[in-house]
């Protein structure tokens, strides 16, 4: 019999082994390609704004890689021998060190702007993060939302249209929230009232939203450019914090939508675990019958959560338009809703976990644009596969037992 203690031990051991595998990968993949004279330059210039300048970091590539290997091996050995209390945090640190090793190797004899990299990683993780938060909101109350993609498209379309018509990005943003919320209300009616299978309802919503936005876009937005040129949000630098080197440009020089997303991560985390509303939501998601017996209104809680979740998904769509390309394109969400769903599961249905996993996918996305300037002998397609493969490996070894809310996906039948 597998006791819980044994499972914990095995998980801790697997985690340690994964750390060592990361170190081995640096040794086998990156070190052989370097020579003693090669140097890596990391720069820390902010691309858009003033921040306190940090001197460039120039080091021997080989030395740098050895140092990183030693640190990772140490972490792995410590994990195997003693165990860290917060394993997932250390896993994140190890993954970060591995990425650093990769960048040091790829930028040998070149210079690489780390601040710029961090900045673009963060920006590209935003739509994924918001999609994941939307999923957390819905699924914690027991409703699977596979329609995130469709809600994002609705939000993106309406933010472009209303933003252009009114000439104000704020109206565009509100329209996106309304669009996502409306789509979610449809999901709620189907899934909660009509007890339609939630995955069916979500699929239908995505197909419907894809069709509607593409249809109206080719009828109106493509023929009349004035309907598809919304004003965008400008980056706002936060005083003082924004001038901190590296961190400032990466975290504190963004548009309103990005700050709102940061706020939502912590707000939803706090609300879920510290407030009465969160307790009710989790109760409804885990055991609706018991919650009902205690007088919690199951339907109402689910309605509220799903509609707020839809608004968050709409916000994700608005980000794509109002904080990024300033235009609606057909199918512009391009699967980010599904990646967001994966980030939610990877993050164990938890806002901060979802943030962490969104960053991984955001990094994958931003790597694509940086590859051209780097010296990488492997075909770029294989590098771009890597984050997805790493996710699978980590998921298999560590987060395999990530646990959804118990009543997730089950319609509730009142007695």
């Amino acid at each position: 019999m597998d006791t819980i203690l044994n499972q914990e031990k095995r998980k801790a051991r697997t985690m340690g082994i994964i750390f060592l595998v990361f170190a081995l990968a640096v040794l086998l993949l990156f070190l052989p390609g370097t020579t003693g004279e090669q140097q890596t330059t990391f720069t820390f210039t902010a691309t858009k704004v003033e921040a306190l300048a940090l001197p460039d970091l120039i080091f021997s590539t080989q030395m740098g890689l050895y140092v990183l290997v030693v640190v990772i091996v140490f972490l792995g050995a410590w994990q195997l021998a003693k165990g860290f209390p917060n394993q997932n945090l250390i896993l994140g640190v190890v993954a970060g060190l591995f990425v650093l090793a990769f960048l040091a190797w790829a930028a040998r004899d070149k210079s690489m702007n780390l601040t710029g990299m961090l900045e673009s990683t963060l920006l590209r993780s935003m739509p994924i993060l918001l999609a994941a938060l939307s999923g957390v909101m819905c699924e914690r109350s027991g409703v699977v939302n596979i329609g995130i993609e469709g809600m994002m498209l609705a939000g993106a379309f309406l933010s472009a249209l209303i933003g252009s018509v009114t000439g104000s990005q704020w109206w565009g943003l509100l329209a996106a929230l309304a669009g996502g919320g409306l789509m979610a209300a449809l999901l709620a009616v189907l899934a909660i009232n009509y007890k339609v299978d939630q995955i069916v309802a979500g699929t239908a919503i995505t197909i419907l939203a894809t069709g509607l936005t593409s249809y109206f876009s080719s009828r109106y937005l493509q023929t009349n450019a004035a309907l598809n040129t919304p004003p965008t949000f400008r980056p706002l630098q936060i005083p003082l914090l924004g001038r901190i080197p590296v961190v400032g440009p990466a975290f504190f020089n963004h548009t309103f939508v990005v700050y709102l997303a940061f706020f939502l991560v912590f707000a939803i985390q706090f609300m879920l675990y510290q407030t009465r509303w969160g307790l009710r939501t989790r109760a409804v998601g885990e055991h609706p019958r018991a919650a009902d017996t205690l007088g919690i209104k199951v339907f109402r809680t689910r309605y509220i959560n799903v509609i707020i979740g839809g608004m968050v998904a709409g916000l994700s769509g608005a980000y794509l338009v109002l904080s990024s390309v300033a235009r609606f394109d057909e199918l512009m969400s391009a699967g980010k809703g599904y990646i967001g769903m994966a980030a939610m599961i990877f993050g164990n249905w938890n806002p901060i976990g979802a943030f962490g996993s969104s960053l991984i996918f955001g990094f994958a996305d931003s790597l694509q644009t940086k590859l051209a300037i780097l010296q990488v002998p492997i075909p770029s397609q294989f590098l771009l596969m890597a984050p997805y493969l790493v996710t699978m490996i980590v998921l298999a070894g560590v987060v395999g037992q990530s646990r959804p809310p118990a009543a997730d996906g089950a319609p509730y039948e009142k007695e």
């Binding site: 299978d197 894809t210 509607l212 009828r219 599904y338 493969l389 998921l395 990530s402 996906g409």
Partner: protein, 395 residues
């Protein structure tokens, strides 16, 4: 299952009316979706709005003209003549495979959201066998190329099955991840200068040998693209039905799908069943690709988004995860697609209206209470509602 029971218990007149009523909802769902589509076309047509400005009568006349032109083109495009009928069937062919793939997964309690990636891999393996082997007679080459597609898809999905069975890693994330890996792999293989690209500047595979072509059904008329693939798809639908309902393995798959805990106590090897289900599902999705490649275009282009992965989910849901249902749903989607592309050509209605119709049809079929309320028809006996998938909590 409950429908079979209801049929067996009923006497023949009521059986007919039960059958009529069980057909009524899907039919009315399609009709209702078409009516809403018509309203959408009217509302977004400037000539109709202008005509309504001149008076109700002229508005109605103009609305009728626009709708009859659009839907005339639509029905002609779906069933109008031999070319369009065969086009409907041809488009339905890969849909049948992709839909069966997802349906089989649902029956085994697995949500295969990665039919798209399995389609790409099946395409790669199938086209490779198709162009690289030469000098084989068609009755050897064609089955080999089809088999290659199935094996490619099976391996791709099988990996996810193994991960699920051995570590509990969730198949939804892993199939999504595998989709992205498959896109990149296909891009690498077919990019100009890649291992499977043809010489020159186009990122496509070499031309498949004629010995691996799926035989054309009307070889004398080269515009008709209908080929033997459709019958292979039907045969596979029968095969999947037989597997699911007539074999021990199928019984095990369905038992694991309904209740993995009970299945384990009944002595079923649950991890093994999960791996087999996933691999079979992937094999079916992998077979969708040769239908397009060996049957129609005869090479594999780089970076084409097929959209099959997503449509496949809709097909499995519409078809109630039953092979016959999947075939019917695929025919419906084929007709919608074929009709809408003719409607776009003749009446300038954006082809995206198919997605709107598909979405509405799914909503109405999944929530029959809405259709019944609109048309005031009596419901079927209890237990007739769709119960297909489970959230990811129950495993």
């Amino acid at each position: 299952m409950s429908r079979q029971k209801a049929n067996a218990e009923g006497k023949s007149p009521s059986r007919i009316s039960a059958a009529a009523r069980s057909l009524a909802v899907p039919l009315l769902a399609v009709v209702t979706a078409l009516i809403i589509g018509a309203l959408l076309i009217i509302v977004t047509d400037e000539t109709v709005l202008a005509a309504f400005g001149r008076g109700i009568g002229s508005g109605l006349v103009q609305a009728w003209r626009i709708i009859s032109k659009a839907y005339g083109a639509f029905f002609f495009g779906a069933f109008g003549d031999l070319y369009h009928i065969t086009e409907t069937l041809r488009i339905a062919t890969p849909y049948i495979f992709a839909g069966l793939a997802v349906a089989l997964g649902f029956q085994g309690g697995l949500f295969n959201i990665g039919a798209e990636g399995q389609y790409f891999i099946g395409g790669l393996t199938s086209v490779y066998v198709g162009y690289s082997l030469t000098g084989l007679p068609w009755f050897v080459h064609l089955p080999l190329a089809l088999l290659a597609g199935a094996v490619g898809g099976a391996l791709w999905a099988g990996i996810v099955g193994v991960l699920k069975a051995k570590t509990g890693a969730h198949e939804v994330i892993n199939t999504i991840m595998m989709n992205y890996v498959a896109y990149r792999l296909a891009e690498f293989m077919l990019d100009v200068g890649g291992p499977m690209a043809r010489p020159g500047y186009r990122p496509v595979s070499p031309e498949v040998q004629p010995s691996a072509y799926l035989p054309q059904f009307f070889p004398s008329d080269s515009t008709i693209r209908f080929n033997a693939g459709f019958f292979i798809a039907l045969a596979f639908a029968v095969l999947v039905w037989w597997l699911l309902y007539k074999t021990t393995l199928g019984y095990e798959i369905r038992t694991v799908g309904q209740n993995p805990h009970a299945a384990r106590y009944a002595g079923i090897n649950v991890p093994r069943t999960i791996i087999i289900t996933m691999a079979l599902s992937g094999a079916l999705a992998g077979l969708a690709a040769p239908m397009d490649i060996l049957g129609v275009i005869h090479f594999m282009p780089n970076a084409f988004s097929s959209g099959y992965g997503f449509d496949a989910i809709a097909l499995a849901l519409l078809g109630n995860s039953h092979p016959l249902g999947v075939v019917l749903a695929s025919l419906l989607f084929g007709a919608l697609r074929s009709g809408a592309s003719n409607m776009q050509g003749i009446a300038q209605i954006p082809i995206d209206i198919t997605s709107i119709l598909q979405g509405l049809i799914i909503v109405f079929i999944a929530a029959p209470a809405i259709v019944r309320a609109i048309y005031r028809i009596r419901g079927l006996e209890q237990g007739e509602e769709l119960v297909l998938t489970r959230g990811w909590g129950q495993m």
